[in-house]
Subunit: 262 residues, 2 copies
């Protein structure tokens, strides 16, 4: 049985807490948060505390707090030579105070407070400065039902950046499509199956192979008409930039117009 303490009360902390309590391999011994109110509703299930000095010995302390708080919280922990991990995609493992053995337990997924999380679909990226502790983090991830990947800090930071592209930016493209279609009284439902299929398709083939459309075909007539249709300069700029990006990826080279010299 792995004994853990969770520190923090945000989405990641809460989803981890809920999922760990379902596992027989892990016990959440204590749940700490700076402000007691955020976690007090769980006081009948586990020991909830707002005082770091009350932290008992545990196999791992999971700092599921905001990026900015990781370093400072790790510094004020009132113990040393124990195993402390953070859950951030972007914080360096060495930002944790070196008085404890350091590690990372980064679940790569979009967590919202409302929706339930299926941890089978949450890859967990683990890192540890102590090789011996990797097995512990692996067991912890498996207790969640997650797939485990061993990656280093640079890779994790790159994953975090990649996640912004596939999650935040894709979602903003959905938003733009929503705006454009709303303006013409089109039911956004019509686009949802295409959105699902676009994501599903890359399960079977690379995004490179999955690409279609006017940019990939270098269909100048359609591209020109689309740019004309767009009413917002921002949308035009995004259309142009993404079209150029697709062309470059697929080796479509345009002859550049020669600019007259001064």
């Amino acid at each position: 049985m792995i004994k853990i303490a969770i520190l923090g009360a945000g989405n990641v902390a809460t989803h981890l807490y809920k999922q760990f309590t379902k596992s027989n391999a892990v016990v959440v011994q204590q749940w700490y948060n700076r402000t007691f109110d955020a976690i007090k509703s769980f006081q009948n299930e586990t020991e909830v505390i707002d005082d770091l000095s009350q932290l008992k010995e545990a196999d791992v302390y999971i700092l599921a707090v905001s990026d900015d708080a990781v370093a400072s919280l790790s510094q004020i922990l009132p113990f040393e030579n124990r195993f402390v991990v953070h859950t951030s995609g972007s914080v360096n493992i060495h930002d944790l105070d070196k008085k404890n053995t350091r590690g990372v337990f980064y679940p790569l997924q979009t967590f919202s407070s409302e929706a339930d999380v299926d941890f089978n679909n949450v890859p967990v990226c683990i890192e540890s400065e102590s090789k011996g502790k990797l097995a512990l983090l692996k067991s912890l991830g498996e207790a969640l039902g997650s797939k485990i990947y061993k990656i280093n800090t640079e890779q994790r930071q790159t994953l975090h950046l990649s996640a912004v592209f596939v999650n935040n930016f894709s979602n903003q493209l959905y938003r733009i499509a929503h705006e454009i279609s709303d303006a013409k009284s089109i039911n956004f439902e019509i686009l949802k199956p295409l959105i699902q299929e676009t994501a599903r398709k890359i399960e079977d083939m690379s995004p490179y192979m999955a690409q279609t459309g006017p940019a990939k075909r270098n269909d100048k007539k359609t591209i020109k008409r689309h740019l004309k249709q767009l009413e917002s300069d921002e949308h035009k700029a995004i259309y142009q930039l993404m079209t150029d990006s697709i062309k470059r990826t697929h080796g479509i080279v345009e002859r550049k117009r020669t600019k007259p010299k001064n």
Copy 2:
């Protein structure tokens, strides 16, 4: 029983052919293509022809050809006062020759030649200059198992444009994430659950509500670090533009630096 003729042999034509042959409500009487070779393997199932003059009377002629070919093919059809539809997202209904009654039967989905298509997930957008023919198109769409939406040409062209954003451009974001993570020897599999969840999430909430991440939080430190991490100018430009777009959507206004006057 609706008698149809399909004209063309591309992905849309082929998927429509295959699905219609499964329906008891529709019979594909003839399948025409300019070059016989593309369709001759189906000659034991239906009448395949490469000569327009052989076209028999049908309830509807479906021109599933490339955008550029719609108008010209409609002009050389050797009959009039029949019902002719195209399947394009961007071609105006009036680009069809007016000697026949005109309509549109636009399945909004990404079709690849290999993969089977589940028409339950293919919304079909219909339009007709004859109100009486709309019911026919509706039955045709239902025979495929599709959801039917009545929309006009302007709306259809806007949908087609929106589809470029959610399909081609999202896919290119996946591609960029693939490039970035490959460069650091990261298994792209790690990002796939996030890609699926990003698409799935908007089934339950609007893209506006679903947004998260550094741009939405106006987390300048992370944005700055991400921009520094990116090695390609193109990726930096996309990151910047999409970040600005998210900020604008969520009302995050930056104070502009005053430029010194000349």
